[in-house]
Symmetry: C2
């Protein structure tokens, strides 16, 4: 027979949440959050259990401990606060609590009128045994109680001692945990900065920020900061700022040949001046960059850099580290391909190089270089085309030293790869939002994103447009489309971004029908934008972002709930703070051309409302106010006037009842 291991540990602990892939990856929270941990904890028979949640900062010694409490059906709960950035670990310990069992049973015996003399002796012995684990005053109190319980004192006085609260606390504090079960794993939680959860991004090309006919500079970008901050953005994201290759440089509208003087694509990284740690000379100096970062910080904004791990044939690494690229039998380096398509202006790294450790280190150093320059947010270009284990290692390395760093994965690829990148460490992730347009698919997708386990590791950052994505909706939906897609982005997701000024100026012409590429895309040329165009959505965007800032319900995602509507073109959903002090209900007309009317059936419980409650709603976009009662409400949305409502629920509406006392 196999010799069993210690068999007297009778408690089972399983089903622990939050837990991502059995603890293989950390769950994500932000600093200041309380982490609520749940678990199934049970044992055989009817004995009572005690359980504690153990937690500590990763790498520190000694567990902190808080008691867990039973919910229902063998489910237990405990919580701890994330006071610092970085990783914490937690686990659970639980044991059969014979004293607690005895204590509960004693009440039943007394209630049934049974003789409890012997029971008091049993209790006295458990208390006496606890003295061996207790110290100081605990020990003294326990000794006193044990003596009393086994004494000749009246049953009543002995019972009175048992029931006094301090004794139960003493026995809990000095419980016999020699046969406690420890959960088999230590689970990790990462506490990110608050901006990991709630951020509002604005992407712009610095080179288009200058005066007409000039190459824009960091100083021009600085001059535009108040414009961007004025719209309520807190992350200013710049496409790559490095020297651009000359070899196979792309021309206007992605032409495979360029004319002299054409600026090329910023993603063709590296030239004679340098590579990923060098600034494109026409943008300015490193000092100019640092100045911009500081100026942005003064306005509460972060500058986010685009890190694209690929090189132009002119990148210094091509000569310095030819072994990092795939060499073809003819001695040339393998350019990027998606056969039969060729991208000869770009060399991808060969992540299977024998020198992979040096490659990994050098790529990781790129991030660390910019962290040193004050950058803490990175948008990573196409991370899904680089070896996935690299990201887990690199982000782990960087965040171990800089837990304030934020990494946004620009991966538009298959769902499991996108999720894996998030598990492997990316703080935020691009999504399929741009292509989710119908009520059913927006509902399905955002529900999936906000359910465990996805919500524990994947933080959506949704973009109605990007320099690569001018959706059909925006091409043909005109102004209501730009308004609605912005409201959807800003209220469905706590983090969103736009590529401007194309967005606020309603840029909507594609290179050709069926394409999502912008005509005359800034990716390949310098553009001038008329920021003062009276049709600009600038004020509307500022209003939406102000609503986001003023309503904490919109600053996290997990409370998102969709409500039934009678019209397939009307989407209705809500978000709320945990205490329901702030509740936002958004309606969007998904038909950008026609007025739509319909009924919504609100889930009042989700909104923190009683079925019989009258409540006021305040449209934060139009300032209109309505008084509603019950779940069913009528809405009419005319895309040419107001294609969307963002209602704040005012629960504290005063009625005549409030005045009763003073009448």
């Amino acid at each position: 027979m196999t010799k069993p291991t210690e068999g007297r540990r009778r408690v089972i602990i399983e089903g622990v949440e939050p837990q991502v892939d059995s603890g293989r990856f950390p769950a994500k929270r932000v600093v200041g959050d309380r982490v609520t941990v749940e678990a199934d904890i049970f044992t055989d028979g009817h004995d009572r259990i005690s359980a504690v949640l153990l937690f500590q900062k990763e790498g520190e010694e000694g567990w902190n401990e808080v008691p867990m409490v039973p919910l229902d059906n063998d489910r237990w709960e405990g919580s701890f606060a994330l006071k610092e950035l970085g990783r914490s670990v937690f686990t659970i310990e639980a044991w059969v609590d014979h004293y607690l069992t005895w204590h509960g049973d004693l009440k039943k015996r007394v209630a049934a009128g049974q003789d409890v003399t012997l029971q008091l002796v049993i209790g006295a012995r458990m208390i006496a045994s606890a003295t061996s684990r207790a110290e100081g005053s605990d020990r003294a109190s326990l000794l006193e109680a044990a003596r009393l319980l086994e004494s000749d004192a009246s049953i009543e006085s002995r019972l009175e001692r048992v029931y006094r609260e301090d004794l139960l606390a003493l026995m809990t504090r000095n419980a016999d945990r020699s046969m406690a079960t420890r959960f088999s794993r230590e689970l990790t939680i990462v506490a990110d900065p608050p901006r990991a959860r709630y951020s509002t991004w604005y992407e712009m090309f610095p080179r288009s920020a200058g005066a007409p006919g000039t190459h824009g500079t960091f100083r021009d970008v600085e001059a535009r900061l108040s414009y961007v901050a004025g719209m309520g953005f807190d992350v200013l994201y710049l496409p790559p700022i490095h020297p651009i290759g000359m070899a196979f440089r792309k021309g206007k509208n992605n032409s495979t040949t360029s004319q002299p003087g054409e600026p090329g694509s910023p993603w063709a990284i590296g030239g004679a001046d340098g590579g990923h740690t060098t600034i494109h000379a026409e943008l300015g100096t490193m000092d100019d960059f640092s100045h911009l970062v500081r100026a942005a910080a003064e306005r509460g904004m972060d500058v986010a850099l685009d890190i694209a791990f690929q090189v132009s044939p002119d990148h210094p690494w091509v000569k310095e580290h030819p072994e990092w690229f795939l060499m073809r039998p003819d001695g040339t380096i393998q350019y990027a391909e998606n056969p039969p398509k060729k991208y000869e202006d770009i060399y991808p790294f060969n992540f299977e190089t024998e020198d992979w450790e040096e490659l990994w280190k050098s790529l990781c150093d790129v991030f660390l270089f910019w962290v040193d320059k004050g950058v803490r947010i990175f948008r990573v270009d196409n991370p899904h085309t680089k070896a996935l284990p690299f990201w887990e290692w690199a982000i782990g390395e960087i965040k171990a030293k800089h837990p304030e760093a934020i990494f946004l994965a620009e991966a538009f690829t298959r769902p499991k790869v996108m999720y894996y990148l998030a598990k492997a460490g990316f703080t935020q992730s691009y999504t399929y939002f741009a292509w989710r347009n119908a009520k059913w698919d927006l509902t399905e997708y955002f529900t999936e994103l906000n359910e465990p386990p996805v919500r524990d590791f994947f933080r959506p950052n949704v973009w109605p447009n990007t320099p690569d994505i001018l959706t059909e909706q925006l091409q043909y939906g005109s102004r209501p489309a730009f308004m609605c897609r912005l409201v959807l982005a800003g209220t469905l997701s706590a983090s969103y971004g736009i590529y401007g000024p194309a967005y606020e100026l309603g840029e909507h012409v594609a290179r050709h029908h069926g394409s999502e590429e912008y005509m005359d895309s800034e990716k390949y040329e310098i553009r001038q934008w008329d920021l003062d165009n009276p049709d600009s959505l600038r004020d509307f965007i500022a209003r939406v972002n102000r609503i986001r800032r003023q309503n904490p319900a919109l600053q996290s995602d997990h409370s998102l709930r969709f409500h039934e509507t009678s019209n397939e073109q009307i989407l209705c959903y809500s978000k709320n703070t945990e205490d329901h002090a702030n509740v936002i209900v958004t309606f969007v007309n998904l038909d950008f051309h026609n007025t739509q009317t319909g009924f919504a059936d609100l889930d009042l419980e989700a909104l923190g409302l009683r079925p019989d409650q009258t409540f006021q709603v305040h449209d934060l976009l139009s300032d209109a106010r309505y008084t509603w009662h019950g779940p069913r409400t009528f809405v009419e949305l005319n895309p040419h006037i107001v294609p969307t409502h963002i209602f704040s629920i005012q629960r504290e509406r005063r009625t005549e009842k409030d005045y009763e006392a003073t009448i």
Copy 2:
């Protein structure tokens, strides 16, 4: 910086199914099954992947290997057959397959009219490299192909060589797996005997099988075998057959005192004659028992024993091993209690005894003793009141030697404890079936049981009655209730059982209103049963069990699907074999008093039917036949005539079209 581990293993493997609690427990199948394994397998970029499923019998050396194939959305599948009883382990290995990528890309390049000269050289080198891993004829063929591809032969002839199927097979067989990813865990599957999945149980008290006024014996039971087998049962389950204690012996109707001559409860195990490995003398000898087991086997039946790990105060172990019980301060042994209730005729084992290893071993030996006597099925009494780790160890020990053993957990307790017992090793489990009566709760419960992960470890064995459970439905529902609950049991669950002859004879009087205890329960007295009562459900039960035997769809559970009906009193569900060769649709009127009519909306796809298909249904209970078309069908169920239909779907209905050729 932390030194990364091998970073060139670019494939990720996750989401492997079947997997119970991240592989902590085995998934359950029966011998002869094909295990279909699925997993998410992906890598960065666009490279092709190859994946294999590795499997072996637990404890054997050397993996068997079968290729996996991609399904959709990065999901892959492979399968292997469970040819022997016992445990097998499996895992997955996958790698970036550069040759496969090259092979696929080459076709695209050729189709696009590109010059592929250099590509053929690249391919040739990969093939040449594979020769170092190949042997014999593989090696020769690869060498030949490599030479041809890099030769001066025409592009066409070289391409022809590339596209010949044998080369791809050769390269797959000799693939470069040096950077393969192995899934991080080895997962376990247990192959149980077929009866673990499909079994039909009949419980009876041997002592009630004798002539009037006598104590029944094993020989009397043997005489009744043809009666039981005639009803189609294949497991004959006997309550404990051991000596019954005299101390605090219970009397008729659970009286705390017994009169001289009263037989006591068989669950008060142990007397002067012996304990758990001794036979109660009045039942016969060990030889009689062995004779019964053999006689049952001749009729295709197993005898299942009830193992109740508790003792009467007269059990020999009380004297031999007082340390196995909890001693009270007054020197007496703690009897069973659920304060304030006392069960002084029973001593529970103290699983926290310091001598727990010896206790575990002795309890395990009880099973092994009876296995030696030819018993391979055990119904375990109240396993949830014994230390849960004991079961995992004991069942593991026994099944390592006797993989044919079957353990049924008689645990009616909280859901997580019931599930844990199944995970820990119990082959089958009692359920809440007896108390699931409404359409919604039957639907919800049986849906939960048949979804992963539950269905991978928990096999329901449902009982409309037991000696402890005479439900309100049976007390007041009269004959239709007995018929319907039997049909529900036998068609919802591949394993079910009844406590007879109480069931077939419609015994329905409870000890008092509100109680589920039988009046004059056989637990405390010897009963006489009139098996030839003309009202007996014997023939009906035989018919239902024959239907089960003739229809493999009813012999497993995972295909169970509920169909919509327009009437809350009409339940409709189906089961089918994987190939839909056998499909059973059952209708049950849950109102035992009134005729109910309504429409069902059948999920035709689940039934393997096309939306436009006309099909015949054959009621296997009444022999009636109907021709149906489309999903919507009308049913009328009169509880006093036919409260239920068990339809077999005949897909192969002949129509005039079948005769076209011969006209």
